[in-house]
Symmetry: C2
Subunit: 180 residues, 2 copies
DNA sequence: CCCTTTATGCGTACCACATACGCAAAACTC
DNA sequence: GAGTTTTGCGTATGTGGTACGCATAAAGGG
């Protein structure tokens, strides 16, 4: 059996608690002390499980998005539109998400979303790297749009988003059309 | 004449100094003390000219982008591509730009860029709100892409950006085509 | 010229936070 | 139970934002 004192909490617990605080009071409210209090532990206890606050932010960032939903039946266009809206909705549940400083080493959740996006393009004549380009571009756009989700500034976001998405899908269609 | 002691510095000086620090050492290095030192003033002297650090960040954010360049001759496509690349290049000169927390009250510089973008669509049969949608969407995409400008992670950004831009312009073309 | 008025310069002080360090506490092995 | 190992966490340090209040300088009036 494993030696030593049993851990009372683990990194996942800490991440969960931090996300709860961020959801309820904003990213600025997430301090090591605040998260520890949420868990009924002392501040410094957290450092046994996460190396630094930056690491905690990276963990939060990856697990904020729950698992991507399955795509509906239909052509690539409907599927990709569904996917993009799911991304936006997922971020909408955690409005602090776009404010987390860039953490380039993406985690497993981000990859799962990316894969789902690729799946929307199954059956199209695009090359693999073109599919990746399409999905990355769209994801970038959606993330950018999500920055306007700050409470109080969502006016007209839905309409703008639909229009931008429409333009983008038209572009993909034209690109596919031009190569067959 | 105006009464009272003469101000040794003004908000513009502070903003300039803060941008210089951010350019040279990153946004994290921008502290009130650091900026004051840059100006040869005491920390608290800054507060006579900016209300808070958040206000300073907003000022930095607006004046980071210098004035937009004039667009070249050509069709809307070339002009919009030129504009998008200018936006990306402008941000590239201040890689901390996308990291500034959202400051919704946009400033005069942002508006100038937006106007230039609209100008790229002069002569197209788009309605005013469609033009605005096109420019906002593209700006959002470029800003999103610019988040990957963090030193060390620009690999393949140029190619990805060109591809995304290509898709988007195709989409605008299709949208215009579908309405004439 | 001195005195009052008015605006700026900035030292001091306080609070929130991240985190290094080291010892105390707990759980397992023999 | 003694030794070993791993976690819990109190203490302390450094950094950063900023409220407060007095010192300081500039201009106007007598």
């Amino acid at each position: 059996m494993k030696r030593g004192r049993k851990p009372a909490i683990d990194a996942a617990d800490i991440t969960r608690a931090a996300i709860a605080v961020a959801d309820a009071e904003g990213l600025a409210a997430v301090s090591m002390a605040r998260v520890a209090q949420e868990l009924g532990n002392a501040t410094m206890a957290l450092y046994r499980h996460v190396k630094s606050k930056d690491e905690l932010l990276a963990l939060m960032s990856d697990s904020a998005m729950e698992d991507p939903p399955d795509l509906p039946e239909g052509d690539w266009r409907e599927r990709l539109r569904f996917w993009a809206k799911a991304v936006l909705a997922g971020i909408g549940r955690h409005p602090w998400f776009p404010q987390v400083p860039i953490s380039p080493p993406v985690g497993p959740h981000s990859l799962a979303w990316f894969d789902k996006g690729l799946g929307a393009l199954d059956g199209t004549p695009l090359e693999p790297d073109e599919k990746a380009g399409v999905v990355l571009t769209l994801m970038t756009y959606v993330h950018g749009e999500a920055r306007s989700l700050t409470p109080g500034y969502e006016d007209g976001l839905a309409a703008r988003f639909d229009f931008g998405l429409h333009l983008f899908l038209e572009g993909v269609a034209a690109h596919i059309g031009g190569r067959t």
